[in-house]
């Protein structure tokens, strides 16, 4: 018991040490690069100064400075913005994952759809999201269903869903078809219904594929949400702040870098949630899990 606890503490300590070393390494890389370029005066690929590459401590420090005298810290605004964007991304992820799964299940079941539908699914992803976002976000703003119009964040969630569904569809098709033929034969020998084969064999067999897709989709949904905020200049999310700080980049470059850090942190936490759920839901030999 005690040994197990000690072993656990040791492995946690080891992980913390690795995390610390990686962060320290990244810091050293950034600051070292800066120092080298500044001292030699190199200008390729770009000249280095506090505008192009602010000090890391200045970037983190910006989070804990008030934007203007007497106002709350930037971190406070960032938290609110991150939560707003997280809501868009999470709802978009849920919608996209559901649609992606249903579409994938239909394609896996009805082979005809593979040729009929898949090209359009692929085409949908080759159009730059920046070109679609305004059409969707602004367009949906003019839609009214019995007097109800989707609010800002709902329209942005549609963009997040748009980026989410594709990897889920592709992996659902592969995953549902990955069931061992002998296992399918076994189900046949039990005279199992197609519905039972689907839920008791095909879906569980597809779970590792689905979670691979969810990991890609989780981060993509955050990117989708941020981009979705840009065209109709929705101010409450991270996208709004990015546009804002972009305009003042020459004056306060740290602020834009700080939002980027927050956006990255949001994407990482989405990813980690998926990893956590996967650990709880997917039981596989350790060597089959990534």
């Amino acid at each position: 018991m005690l040994l197990a606890v000690l072993a656990r503490i040791r492995s946690l300590a080891a992980r913390a040490a690795v995390l610390f070393l990686v962060l320290a390494g990244l810091w050293a890389l950034w600051e070292g690069y800066r120092k080298l370029w500044e001292s030699t005066g190199w200008t390729r690929p770009f000249p280095v100064d506090s505008t192009t590459m602010p000090h890391l401590h200045d970037i983190v420090g910006a989070l804990f400075d008030p934007l203007r005298e007497g106002e709350p810290l930037l971190a406070r605004y960032m938290l609110d913005a991150a939560l707003f964007t997280a809501k868009e991304a999470a709802v978009g992820f849920a919608i996209g994952a559901t649609i992606g799964f249903l579409l994938g299940a239909l394609i896996a079941r009805f082979g005809v759809l593979q040729r009929g539908v898949m090209p359009y699914v692929v085409a949908s992803q080759t159009i730059p999201i920046l070109a679609i976002a305004p059409i969707v976000v602004v367009g949906l703003g003019n839609v009214s269903i019995a007097g109800w119009t989707p609010t800002d964040w709902m329209r942005v969630a549609v963009i997040a869903a748009y980026l989410t569904f594709f990897p889920v569809t592709v992996n659902t098709v592969r995953g549902l078809r990955s069931a061992d033929p002998a296992a399918v034969e076994l189900m046949e020998s039990y005279a199992a219904s197609e519905w039972s084969v689907f839920w008791k064999l095909r879906v569980p067999a597809a779970l590792p594929y689905l979670f691979s897709a969810f990991k890609v989709a989780a981060t993509a949904s955050v990117v989708g949400a941020v981009i979705g905020e840009l065209p109709s200049s929705i101010q409450s999310g991270l996208g709004g702040w990015i546009i804002n700080f972009n305009q003042y980049y020459v004056l306060e470059p740290e602020n834009l870098w700080a939002v980027n850090l927050v956006a990255a942190a949001l994407g990482i936490s989405f990813f980690l949630v998926v990893v956590l759920v996967e650990k709880l839901v997917v039981h596989r030999p350790p060597e089959q899990l990534v």
Partner: protein
């Protein structure tokens, strides 16, 4: 023959258009409680015959009755328990959940299921492993789970397709004894595909010898060794005679040596 579990007449199976004849004109009767082995070189159609009996492959010609019904009806009535060479356990289910899979499909209640799973675990001597996942078990243990799963809903007929083919000799002999014990305890009828002569003779009440191109039955050898079979059986002179008889029957067909 009211007490025959399997009654096959004139079964033929051709794969593809004018392609390979996997089975030709097979007649086979299997009585209740029998243990019949199908033996023959690769390509003799023994696995195909097993699948035809289990309604997993449709015969091109001939008639097959299982418990007096069509094989298709028998499958819908869940008369078959099947064990493949690979254990085909579901990685995402515990041992107990794997065994209860057919029971779920049949529609048993939770309490009934867990009671039966406990019985089955005892039968294959895996009590205490119910919460393990398949990949935490050895190959032999996995195959025992697979047998427990096949027997869990008390099917009329147990179809086994080289179930111990992938196991080492020691494990194989131990599982042979275990299978015989289970067969005696449950009184099930078994059709067993193998390419091991020793295994076929040791286990069976009858050995059906098949030959390839086209797949057909060339001889049927009753195994009159006393029951129950034990370590002594493997040293019985009669056992060696029968092994020789089966071997000669196999070679007489000009099968692969």
């Amino acid at each position: 023959m009211s007490d025959s579990v399997v009654s096959a007449k004139g079964i033929s199976k051709t794969f593809g258009k004018g392609g390979v004849t996997a089975l030709q004109d097979i007649d086979l009767e299997v009585g209740r409680g029998e243990f019949v082995s199908l033996i023959g070189p690769s390509g003799c159609g023994k696995s195909t015959l097993l699948r035809v009996i289990g309604d997993l492959v449709e015969p091109s010609a001939g008639e097959i009755l299982v418990n007096g019904k069509t094989a298709h009806r028998a499958r819908l009535d869940r008369d078959y328990g099947i064990v493949f060479q690979a254990a085909v356990l579901y990685d995402w289910r515990t041992v107990a959940k794997n065994i209860s899979l057919p029971l779920e499909l049949v529609g048993w209640g939770r309490a009934q299921r867990s009671e039966r799973v406990a019985e089955m675990l005892k039968l294959v001597e895996l009590d205490g492993f119910e919460r393990h996942y398949p990949w935490q078990l050895s190959g032999g243990m996995q195959q025992r789970v697979s047998i427990a799963r096949a027997l869990s809903f008390s099917p009329a007929l147990l179809l086994m397709d080289e179930p111990f083919g992938a196991l080492d000799e020691m494990t194989r002999e131990r599982l042979n004894d275990e299978l015989l014990r289970i067969w005696t305890e449950t009184g099930s009828t078994v059709i067993f595909v193998t390419h091991s002569i020793a295994e076929a003779v040791y286990l069976s009440t009858r050995v059906v010898v098949m030959s390839p191109r086209p797949g057909r039955i060339t001889s049927v050898i009753p195994i009159d060794l006393p029951q129950p079979r034990t370590v002594e059986t493997r040293e019985d002179p009669r056992y060696f005679e029968l092994v020789t008889e089966v071997r000669e029957a196999l070679h007489a067909n000009g099968g692969e040596r």
